[in-house]
C-alpha cells in the first residue's frame, strides 16, 4: 500500500506541467544525441549541468535522467540504419540490427527495439520503486567503514566495466581520486595541490573535467579520423513487427529486461554492461532453428540488448539514489547535479525529499511513454538527422561546450582548464587508458577520504576495522572477487589466442 501511495505522490510531481516539459526536453535531447554518433549522454549532461543551476532540483534531475535513458532509444536507430552505434551501449545492436536493415527489415528492427525498450523501462521503474526504500533503510545504518568499503566496491566495479587493461584502469581510479584531492581540505582548511592558482581552491570542477575529457576529446578524435558514414537510405517500411516476430522476440525482451535490471544495480553496471551481457546470453539460448542465425539479422539479437540497456540505464539509479554512490560515470554526473542543487546524495534523500525522489522515479514512466511516441511515429525525422554531416555538427557541439563551461564561474580560467583536459583526454585515448574510472574516482575522492578519516577516528587508527565489521568485510571480499573475476577471462582469452596459434 505504501508503494502505491509513494508512486501516487511521484506521479503528482511528475505530471505537473513544468516537470513534464523538462522530462520532454530530456528525452528529446536524449534521443537526439543518441541518434547522432559522436556525441553521447555524458558530454551532453556535462554541457547542461551549468544550466541546471537555474532550474528547480526535481526538474533538473528529471531532465538529466531523461537524457540518459532517452539516449538508449536513440542509439538503436543509428545502430540499425547506419551500422555504427549511435551510443556505445548500442554496439551489439549493430550486429543483427544492421543485417535486418540490409534484408529490408529495418522497420521491424526499429519497432522491436522501441517496444522492448518501453517494456524494459517500465519494468525497471517498478524495480526501482520496490527496491529503493528497503535499500535506503539498510544504508541509513551504514557507518563510515561500510561506506568506505562500499566505495571500494564501486570503484573496482568501474574497473571491471572498463575495457582493456585492468592495471591501467586501477591506475586511472587512483589518478581520479588524486584529482579529487585538489582544492581546500575540509578538515584542516589547507589548500592542497592548487599550485598557487586561486581558481583551484574550490577544486577543479568536475564539469570542466568531464567536458574536456569526454566532450572535447571526442571532437578531436573525430576530426582526426575524418568522416566515414554510410546511411542506409532505402525505405524503412512499416515499423510494427509482425505477430510472428513479436512472439519470437518476446522471451528475448523478458530475458534482456531481467538481465539489464539486475546488472544495472551492480557497481560498475549500467546500460553498456547490460546490453553486452544480454546479447552474449541470448546467443547461447537455443531458439527456433528456422530463424536467421545471430549476426545475420536475428530479431532477438536486437530485442534483448535494446531491452537490457534501457533497463540497466534505469536501475543504475538505485545505488545513486539510495546509497549516494554512483555506479557509473553518468550517475557520477547525476551526483554532481544534485550537489549543484545543494542536495547531498544518500539514503536520507528519500525521507527528506520524497517529492524529488518519487517524482524522479515516476517521471521515468512518463518519459518512456513519451519516448515511444517520439521514436515510433517520428522515426523519419531522426533518420533525416543522420544525414547531417559532422562538419556541421561539431561547431554546434563546441558552442554548447564552451558556453556551458564559461557559465560555471564566468571566467576564462575554466576555458583553459577544459582545453587542457581535452588534450589530456586525447593522450588517454592514445595510450588506451579508459577515462571513465578516473571521473568516478574524482567524484568519490573527497567522500572516500572523509569516510576513511571518520572510520579511523572511530576505530582508533586500526585498519583492521574494515575486515572486522561484517558488512564492510563482505563488501571488500566482493571487490576482491570482482578483481579475480575480471582477471580470469583475460587469462582465458590469452590462452585461447595461444590455442588458435597452435591450430
Amino acid at each position: 500500500m505504501e508503494l502505491l501511495n509513494n508512486l501516487l505522490l511521484g506521479f503528482q510531481v511528475a505530471l505537473t506541467l513544468q516537470n513534464m516539459w523538462y522530462c520532454f526536453i530530456g528525452v528529446l535531447l536524449g534521443t537526439l544525441i543518441g541518434v547522432l554518433p559522436g556525441i553521447g549522454p555524458l558530454a551532453t549532461i556535462a554541457m547542461l549541468l551549468p544550466i541546471t543551476f537555474t532550474l528547480p532540483p526535481t526538474a533538473s534531475l528529471i531532465m538529466l535522467a531523461g537524457i540518459y535513458y532517452g539516449a538508449q532509444y536513440g542509439g538503436s536507430t543509428t545502430a540499425i540504419l547506419v551500422n555504427i552505434p549511435g551510443e556505445s551501449s548500442a554496439a551489439v545492436t549493430v550486429l543483427d540490427g544492421y543485417q535486418m536493415a540490409r534484408r529490408g527489415r529495418a522497420g521491424p528492427a526499429l519497432g522491436i527495439a522501441a517496444l522492448g525498450s518501453v517494456f524494459a523501462g517500465s519494468f525497471a521503474t517498478l524495480v526501482i520503486a520496490v527496491l529503493a526504500p528497503p535499500l535506503s533503510e539498510v544504508a541509513l545504518k551504514f557507518g563510515p567503514a561500510e561506506y568506505f568499503s562500499l566505495m571500494v566496491v564501486g570503484l573496482i566495479g568501474a574497473v571491471v566495466l572498463a575495457r582493456g587493461s585492468v592495471l591501467k584502469a586501477i591506475a586511472m581510479v587512483c589518478l581520479g581520486l588524486l584529482f579529487g584531492m585538489i582544492g581546500t581540505d575540509v578538515n584542516s582548511g589547507v589548500a592542497r595541490f592548487t599550485l598557487g592558482i586561486p581558481e583551484l581552491s574550490d577544486g577543479m570542477g568536475f564539469i570542466t573535467l568531464a567536458m574536456g575529457i569526454f566532450g572535447y576529446c571526442e571532437i578531436i578524435i573525430n576530426l582526426e579520423k575524418g568522416e566515414a558514414r554510410e546511411v542506409f537510405t532505402s525505405r524503412i517500411g512499416s515499423l510494427l513487427p509482425t505477430w510472428d516476430d513479436m512472439k519470437y522476440a518476446a522471451p528475448a525482451i523478458m530475458r534482456g529486461t531481467l538481465i539489464g535490471s539486475f546488472l544495472g544495480i551492480l557497481p560498475g553496471g549500467g546500460a553498456l554492461l547490460s546490453s553486452f551481457a544480454a546479447y552474449a546470453i541470448e546467443k547461447n539460448v537455443t531458439g527456433d532453428k528456422s530463424r536467421e542465425k545471430f549476426g545475420e539479422g536475428n530479431i532477438r539479437g536486437v530485442a534483448a540488448p535494446e531491452s537490457a540497456n534501457n533497463a540497466g540505464a534505469q536501475t543504475s539509479f538505485i545505488p545513486m539514489l539510495t546509497l549516494g554512490i554512483p555506479s557509473n560515470v553518468i550517475m557520477a554526473m547525476m551526483v554532481g547535479a544534485m550537489m549543484i542543487q545543494g542536495i547531498a546524495p544518500g539514503p536520507q534523500v528519500m525521507n527528506e525529499r520524497p517529492q524529488l525522489f518519487w517524482g524522479l522515479i515516476a517521471s521515468m514512466w512518463v518519459g518512456n511513454v513519451m519516448l515511444v511516441i517520439l521514436n515510433m511515429p517520428m522515426i523519419g525525422l531522426w533518420v533525416s538527422l543522420l544525414k547531417v554531416p559532422y562538419r556541421i555538427l561539431y561547431p554546434c557541439i563546441l558552442v554548447f561546450c564552451v558556453i556551458g563551461v564559461y557559465s560555471i564561474n564566468n571566467n576564462a580560467f575554466d576555458a583553459i582548464l577544459t582545453a587542457l583536459f581535452g588534450l589530456f583526454g586525447y593522450i588517454l585515448v592514445k595510450v588506451e587508458a579508459e577515462p571513465a574510472p578516473m571521473l568516478l574516482g574524482y567524484i568519490l575522492g573527497p567522500l572516500m577520504e572523509e569516510n576513511l578519516r571518520r572510520a579511523m577516528l572511530l576505530a582508533r587508527g586500526d585498519f583492521f576495522v574494515f575486515f572486522q565489521r561484517p558488512i564492510s568485510a563482505t563488501l571488500l571480499v566482493i571487490s576482491i572477487l570482482l578483481l579475480v573475476f575480471v582477471l580470469l577471462p583475460n587469462i582465458r582469452k590469452k590462452r585461447d589466442v595461444a590455442f588458435e596459434a597452435d591450430d
Partner: protein
C-alpha cells in the same frame, strides 16, 4: 631491451609522473597519524599506489604480447620546448608581467597555444585555441560576436568544411546562443561588445 607495447610504456610513465608530482607536493602538508589523518595522508598513500601501478605498467610494456609502436601521435619537440621556456619565463616574471595586462595575455597565451600545438594533428590545437580565444573574448566582445568568431574559427578546421556553410552556421549559432542562453535561460552574459555599452 625493446619496448613492445608503446601504449603501456607511455601510460606507465604518465602515471609515475602524476604520482611523483602529487607525492612531492603532498610533502608540504601535515601527514598526521592513522588515527588523525592530516591533509597529506590520503594523497600520499594514493600517490604511492599510483607510482607502483605506473611502474608495473611500464615494466609490462617490455614483455607485452600486444605490439604497438612507441610513436602514438605526432609530437613536435620544438613547440613543446618553446612552450615550456615561455611558460617558465611567465611564471618567474609573473610580477613584472602583471603590470601590463596585454603583455601578460600574449605571453601566457603563446605558451599555452604552443603547448597544445606540440601534440597531434593541426585540428587539435586549432580547436583548443578557439576555445581559449572564446573564453578571453566573451567579455570584451559580447556573446554574439564571440560565438560568431568561435564558429568561424573552429568550423574551418575540418578538411571538408566549406566557407559559405560555415558563415551561415556561425550567424545561426550566434543568434541561437543568444536566444537560448540569454533570452531563454537568463544567463548573465554580456551580449554587446564592451565598447558599445
Amino acid at each position: 631491451m625493446q619496448i613492445k607495447n608503446g601504449k603501456d610504456f607511455w601510460a606507465g610513465l604518465m602515471f609515475m609522473g602524476f604520482a611523483a608530482a602529487f607525492f612531492i607536493i603532498a610533502r608540504n602538508y601535515n601527514m598526521g597519524t592513522a588515527l588523525r589523518m592530516g591533509p597529506s595522508y590520503f594523497p600520499s598513500v594514493l600517490g604511492g599506489m599510483l607510482f607502483f601501478l605506473g611502474l608495473a605498467t611500464t615494466v609490462r610494456s617490455f614483455f607485452s604480447k600486444d605490439e604497438h609502436s612507441w610513436r602514438l601521435f605526432e609530437f613536435r619537440p620544438i613547440n613543446f620546448v618553446a612552450a615550456v621556456v615561455i611558460g617558465a619565463f611567465a611564471y618567474w616574471q609573473a610580477k613584472w608581467l602583471q603590470t601590463n595586462e596585454w603583455l601578460q595575455f600574449a605571453v601566457v597565451g603563446a605558451s599555452i597555444v604552443l603547448f597544445f600545438s606540440s601534440f597531434g594533428q593541426r585540428s587539435l590545437w586549432q580547436l583548443l585555441a578557439a576555445t581559449l580565444a572564446f573564453g578571453y573574448l566573451l567579455k570584451p566582445l559580447g556573446l554574439i560576436i564571440a560565438t560568431f568568431l568561435l564558429v568561424i574559427g573552429s568550423g574551418l578546421i575540418s578538411s571538408e568544411s566549406k566557407m559559405k556553410e560555415v558563415v551561415i552556421l556561425a550567424v545561426a549559432l550566434a543568434i541561437f546562443a543568444w536566444l537560448t542562453f540569454v533570452v531563454g535561460l537568463d544567463q548573465p552574459f554580456p551580449v554587446k561588445p564592451s565598447f558599445m555599452e
